[in-house]
């Protein structure tokens, strides 16, 4: 009996005692960016033994809030900071700088059994607002449309809504926990349509990625084609951002430089996103990189 208590105590003390130096880089935020940044940090840590980076998710809002509260060094955000957040940052004396590390094409996906392969932005909007209820109305099979989207606070949910729907999603849209669950559902569901980052569809098979035109009669662009996304011909793309406090220096700078280097951008492409364009390279230079 006593020995058991002793064992419990000793284990407790031991594990409490292995306090290490907490000099690691903390990166927090968007779930769209998490897999990418994690992969980047993995390669970075292999190249720079002794440097530690912790990447955690929770959504763009969580990351930005943590940066404002000085709980992390870099905030991942798949959207821009809201005016309210900027005001909070100013109030807490956090000098927020934005760096664009990659471009994300948001792809609209359907089941391969669905004959539809392209849509216009307006049609997509009508589908997700719940105004079009059957595929037949768009020239497809006679089946009711099942919508798959993200939950209400994800950056992807907000971006797609603000850029494409310009109104609320249909309340009948299934709210999935993650991009991956949307992909999986669409694979199974012949009537389904969903939106996910291109990074998710590049590695997945058994999906149709729709070509999208910005307006009726316009040219349809393919999100899987890097040039279409980079040139802005594909209408649903967005920059992926990282926010830092003040002009980046030390470890933060070293890691950001790695992300923007040729090697880093190559990893970004391998993970299914797109490298940044000249405009953003100039933009990042202004932030001190």
């Amino acid at each position: 009996m006593k020995s058991i208590i002793r064992i419990i105590l000793i284990t407790g003390l031991l594990s409490a005692n292995i306090y290490g130096a907490r000099g690691m880089l903390q990166i927090k935020g968007s779930d769209t960016l998490i897999n990418l940044v994690q992969r980047l940090s993995e390669v970075y840590m292999e190249e720079n033994p002794g440097d530690y980076i912790a990447v955690t998710g929770g959504g763009s809002g969580t990351g930005v809030a943590a940066l404002i509260n000085k709980k992390c060094d870099v905030a991942n955000a798949s959207r821009l900071m809201k005016p309210k957040e900027v005001a909070q940052a100013v109030e807490r004396k956090v000098d927020v700088r934005r760096v664009v590390i990659a471009i994300d094409g948001l792809s609209v996906i359907v089941n391969p059994n669905n004959p539809i392969t392209k849509l216009t932005v307006d049609q997509i909007g009508r589908i997700f607002r719940g105004e079009v209820k059957n595929w037949k109305e768009l020239g497809g099979n006679d089946v009711a449309i099942t919508l798959y989207g993200r939950q209400s606070n994800s950056g992807t949910f907000v971006f797609f809504r603000d850029a494409i729907l310009k109104n609320d999603y249909s309340q009948k849209m299934n709210r999935m926990n993650g991009n991956a669950q949307i992909v999986e559902a669409i694979k199974r569901d012949k009537s389904g349509i969903g939106y996910v980052g291109v990074g998710y569809v590049k590695v997945a098979k058994g999906l149709t990625v729709l070509k999208v035109a910005s307006r009726e009669g316009g040219e349809y662009a393919d999100p899987l084609n890097a040039n279409d996304v980079k040139s802005g011909k594909y209408p649903i793309s967005r920059p992926l951002n990282q926010y830092v406090n003040g002009s980046p220096k030390g470890k933060v700078k070293k890691f950001l430089q790695f992300e923007l280097s040729a090697k880093g951008q190559k990893i970004i492409e391998a993970e299914g996103f797109f490298p940044i364009s000249e405009d953003y390279i100039t933009f990042n230079k202004k932030a001190g990189l």
Partner: protein
């Protein structure tokens, strides 16, 4: 071991009866911990919910049929679809779990031989040890597609899937408490019934189950509480569309899954955040009520059979 401990204490630093009183006091406060925690949870839910109602009208919260806290147009906080979803999934689960649970309990208490019971009981208890996240996982990849095939729906993320999974989660509770209830029916009931010429089946069906009925009802209510409060399985396997549910083959979003799905990314101390605590409060009140009622029933049952 005992002898060593009973040796007289060396020079007590404090009068032994005072010491005993202090120790008594210590355990008394320790005993009150559970009361503190329960009251604490309730108070905290109320306290954190209140700010939500600065911006949300209480009536529209309780009667609204739209839940859309991050709307493009107008934020809405109506919990009716979630209440309906929660009860749909729960009732579906009970329709499956109650007959199966009572049947299994009756089998274990009255039909099974000693050997079978010795093996079957612990095996049933294993079911209680399977984490809800594992059940939810199987709901996505196994039960969902299976149900979709049977019912010819395009996907399996629906209320029925949730009900089946929750039934599995509620079964161990229902079985073990029902079995206890059946076992505590006095032996002379059986004997009298059998002596009057009733068959064993008639005895189980017409004498024992009615005699244990209040205990069985309590078991079912506890199972119901379990199903209402379950989070991970419904979060993963029911689609979570916020619209008012239309059928068992459509998606639903329960109170628990709404909290789980939205709290992760909501900014602290906003109306939306407080509203999620209000959902928690509603959930707490529902389960509290169910537990109280089942407790009272069970208590009465125990008294009668003593």
């Amino acid at each position: 071991m005992i002898n060593r401990n009973l040796q007289p204490l060396k020079k007590p630093w404090i009068n032994s009866s005072t010491k005993d009183k202090i120790i008594h006091g210590f355990f008394f406060f320790n005993g009150l911990i559970s009361v503190f925690v329960l009251v604490g949870i309730f108070a905290l839910l109320v306290y954190t919910s209140i700010p939500a109602f600065k911006e949300i009208n209480l009536t529209s919260f309780l009667t609204g049929t739209n839940w859309n806290p991050t709307s493009y147009v107008k934020e809405e906080y109506g919990i009716v679809p979630m209440l309906v979803s929660t009860f749909m999934v729960t009732i579906g689960a009970l329709c499956i779990a109650i007959p199966l649970g009572i049947g299994t309990a009756a089998y274990l208490s009255d039909v099974a031989g000693n050997r079978t019971r010795e093996i079957a009981k612990p095996v049933v208890e294993i079911l209680a040890g399977i984490p809800s996240v594992v059940i939810g996982f199987l709901g996505i990849i196994l039960v969902g597609p299976f149900l979709a095939k049977i019912f010819g729906t395009s996907n399996g993320l629906n209320a029925l899937n949730g009900s089946v999974l929750l039934a599995v989660m509620a079964l161990p509770t229902i079985i073990s408490i029902s079995e206890d209830a059946l076992n505590s029916v006095p032996k002379n009931y059986d004997q009298a019934s059998l002596a009057l010429g009733a068959s064993k089946w008639q005895t189980v069906y017409k004498v024992k189950i009615p005699a244990a009925l209040s205990g069985i009802i309590a078991a079912c209510m506890l199972g119901m509480g379990r199903a209402i409060g379950e989070t991970m399985t419904v979060l993963m396997a029911t689609g979570c569309a916020p619209a008012m549910p239309e059928s068992f083959l459509g998606p639903v979003r329960t109170l628990t899954s709404s909290i789980a799905i939205e709290l992760g990314e909501v900014a602290y101390n906003t109306t939306h955040y407080y509203a999620l605590f209000a959902l928690g409060l509603v959930l707490f009140i529902i389960t509290f009520f169910i537990n109280m009622v089942s407790d009272i029933i069970l208590h009465r049952f125990e008294k009668v059979n003593r």
